[in-house]
Point group: C2
């Protein structure tokens, strides 16, 4: 028996596009003499379809894709994921299902039992969990189908769920397992996932064919890395990350004691590729071609420009250099050098005159008051507005260049430097931005050394440095990480040895900035706790204020 | 036995404030010779605390409030809601609990069984559902405690849940039921809630004391309206809406065949009060005093100004009138007349010169291109920026004046008229804005007749009318309502008799505007499907495009 895994890029709600991609993969699988082709979770409609799932029309169109695929199933079994209607009036209206199609018919339906409902996941909002799980026979082999999270309740000392689908199915002595997943990237998750699949193989002692999708859906990036694991947990194949892959495997060759082909995973490489794919798919799926961004001469905008150039081609990236009277000469030169290094177009706009026209207009009210953050914000907002004007006039998408440290403490101007269609770096701490800059500079200098080496500054008043209002990033970032990713509260942080006053100051800054993050652009998620749908906090919550 | 219901306003994470409010209510209950005082769901920490619940420190502080309240429980039984730790390692980490305290001790704990996980609710993200439910005895009476949703699986032909907590507890023959709720307002929900409580009384044939909170938490408004219902479903008392209320009831007087005291509910009155409370609490809880908004002379900004003046006092509202060359003379006069009617301060700023400075700066790139939406957006953004400059300099919060029809179809400029800390009208369709305008004008003219009667226009180009780009609101709004609130898809709408081309055009506009709503301010929720956390849709979902 030959099994083909198809690691494809789906688009939410684009039923015809998803159908076409799967039909093409089926044709390829047939040419590879595959007996089975396996797609990923909810591949008919894309993942996460969120509240589109509440529309009967949407479910109907998803099922139409299943019906169309059934017509392709002569001579090949097809495993495909789709939402389906729960015919029992009790419980949620839908199941998260996998169909097995053969010779024009549905020969098996598996419904997902373990529904993730944490971080970015809201599956219990839509789906009823299945409670019974069965295998089926195909071409003389007994097959167990599981869906993503169904495998994640193994060897867990703090189980989220009170059942384990494979514990039921293993009673029926399956010869192999197919798992259809939509498992998003975070740099820690890639290895966790591999370990989990391996642990399942070890527990159930059967080969596992694990099919993940790849591709970005605005903020969430699916990384692929589909797996074929032998019954002893050795990795028979690990598909590439962040790209399409269709491969055929002969079941009888997936044997214990095989060569372990596990890939090395390097953090900066993974994050770099996730961000590039995040930009690329956003533009592709939104049908936009070119990006614009402000180039300040600093490291964040420089790194964002590199990622955009690599995702879209340098010919599709435009940088605006918008100095004010507070910009250093070096900043403009660094920005120009970057544009030259990357081969992207840049335009230069001095914001002084527009700033003066605002000052003049506001003078009757502001004249006797000291200059403060108001005037700094005006500068940042003029830049945001000029970028949006170019974006509107020339059909560019504005990329936001804020990093996670700034986004966390609210070091940014709403409607100013917090503008943008997509926030590229807002899940990357400043200290990690430096590492990514080194990574993209590893073969040749792309980001000018000066952008990397000079002290970070917003350049909104004379001699300003980030460190005037913030702790050094090397001190700030570890505390942010413990608070945001690790959910550690003030006492736990102080017990870890962090300075009490500093901890309370930082946590207060983070909590008070919630109102800014509420209106920020979607953030490409690369950690396991990104700003956005996976982190939900009240704007007016008076906690740690 | 005398039972006191305390309908209070809680603040998320403000443990000392919540404790103090409850202690004051206990003192009052003791003065009323109450035997029991009942607070509402999760009253220690406020609702919805969302991901703050993932911090052990937060749960610990909530439990401290319970412990402090226990010290007040000599001579009075106290029912209070708090998150608690689930000691079973399996399942979610927390329960949504109600404590009954007496003589310094916890004498009963009830855990919530039915966890809403739809619309704005995410309870299954945090809480394990209870599966067993028991009553307890206090002062010779057997008491059943339920928490909010626990009562909502009665007489339901499409039950979301497969259990019903009171069906278990009724076996123990309770004399009465206490329900602790945090049930948010929507104008349909108020009557549904009363009917549901009544149906519970009829089903279980015992009196019900239903205690809701009131107060706004940014976007979500709790309306109070706590209830005492006799065993035959007659309404013994219905507390006022949108205000604090502490009342004592003698159990032996809550008899069948009593006078039904159900209040009349008038839609515009309810929505008006919800919006006023929404503004008031946002400012109060964020510790801001004064509001600013742009006054265009149109009906949306006029109605927002009325609501702000009623919430904060006219002395705490400032309007900016910011005409351009496209503003009609009438618009400025209408805006001034409104400010005079309300007694609010206004300032006038002509945006022409700033606009010219942008045109001059952009001229090298834009000179040979036709003027288009780019220039319209620049005007809207200059206004947004001036409002933010005043907001920053004078510590005002900017109120957004966009209505739900505009927000739905994306008729608004990001970082322009979509700016603001709070969107006051973005859950009110334009046709309903007219009804609310009539409501606030019912006793005397506050919104000038001209603002109500003239055709809606953004006044961003000569002679512009909303109807140039949108269907008439009387046609648009019913389709939006069916799509947004009723979740009807294109075929269902066409079957209802709506024009196919129009339906597809409108649905496409709504879906394509998701990227704008993602970055919009929080919206005060008054319908059962508002933009915000209760409606989650993908930005790049290619559905009905």
């Amino acid at each position: 028996m030959r099994i083909v895994l198809a690691q494809l890029n789906y688009h939410i709600g684009n039923f015809s596009g998803n159908l076409e991609a799967m039909k093409n993969a089926i044709a390829k699988a047939k040419s590879l003499k595959g007996d089975i082709i396996c797609f990923s979770e909810l591949s008919t409609c894309g993942y996460p379809a969120v509240d589109f799932l509440e529309f009967r029309d949407f479910i109907h169109r998803s099922m139409n894709v299943v019906n169309e695929l059934a017509k392709e199933s002569y001579g090949i079994g097809i495993a495909v994921g789709s939402p389906t209607v729960n015919s029992d009036p009790a419980g949620k209206d839908l199941f998260n299902s996998a169909f097995f199609l053969s010779e024009g018919k549905v020969i098996h339906i598996a419904n997902k039992g373990l529904l993730p409902n944490y971080d970015i996941f809201d599956e219990y909002r839509y789906f009823e969990p299945a409670k019974e799980f069965h295998t089926f026979e195909f071409l003389g082999k007994r097959i167990a189908i599981t869906i993503c999270e169904d495998l994640w309740n193994v060897d867990n000392i703090n189980p989220l769920y009170d059942l384990c689908p494979m514990d039921q199915m293993i009673q029926e002595k399956p010869d192999l397992m197919l798992n259809l997943s939509a498992s998003p990237f975070s740099f820690e998750h890639t290895q966790d996932r591999l370990n989990t699949i391996r642990n399942n193989a070890l527990r159930y002692k059967i080969p596992i064919f694990y099919c993940n999708c790849y591709g970005a859906q605005t903020d969430i990036v699916f990384d692929g890395g589909s797996l074929v694991v032998a019954a002893d947990g050795s990795i028979y194949d690990e598909m590439p990350y962040f790209e399409e892959c269709i491969r055929s495997y002969t079941l009888s060759k997936i044997l214990p004691n095989g060569i372990n082909t596990e890939q090395k995973k390097e953090k900066e490489n993974l994050i770099y590729r996730a961000l590039v794919l995040g930009i690329k798919d956003y533009f592709h799926k939104m049908k936009f071609k070119s990006a614009i961004l402000g180039l300040s001469g600093g490291i964040d905008s420089a790194l964002t420009a590199v990622l955009a150039a690599d995702a879209l081609g340098p010919e599709n990236v435009v940088g605006l250099i918008m100095p004010s009277q507070y910009s250093s000469e070096g900043s403009v030169e660094d920005a120009k050098a970057l544009a030259k290094n990357l081969g992207i177009r840049y335009e230069m706009l001095e914001i002084k005159e527009v700033f003066n026209s605002y000052e003049k207009l506001l003078n009757p009210w502001f004249q006797n008051l000291p200059s403060n953050v108001t005037e700094e914000n005006i500068q940042a907002r003029i830049r945001g507005m000029l970028l949006m004007a170019f974006s509107n006039k020339f059909n560019h998408i504005l990329l936001n260049t804020t990093n996670k440290s700034e986004m966390a403490v609210g070091y940014g101007t709403m409607y100013g430097d917090l503008c943008g269609g997509l926030a590229v770096l807002a899940d990357v701490y400043k200290t990690e931005v430096y590492k990514l800059a080194a990574y993209v500079n590893r073969e040749k200098i792309r980001i000018p050394a000066n952008s990397i080496e000079k002290p970070p500054s917003a350049e909104l008043r004379p001699g300003q440095k980030d460190s005037d209002s913030l702790p050094e990033y090397s001190i700030l970032d570890p505390i942010l990480y413990q608070y945001i990713e690790k959910r550690k509260g003030p006492n736990e942080l102080i017990e870890q040895g962090y300075n009490e006053e500093l901890v309370l100051r930082i946590l207060k800054m983070v909590n008070k900035a919630e109102f800014k993050r509420y209106q920020s652009p979607p953030v490409i998620r690369v950690s396991y706790k990104a700003f956005g749908s996976g982190r939900r906090l009240p704007i007016e919550g008076n906690y740690l204020y």
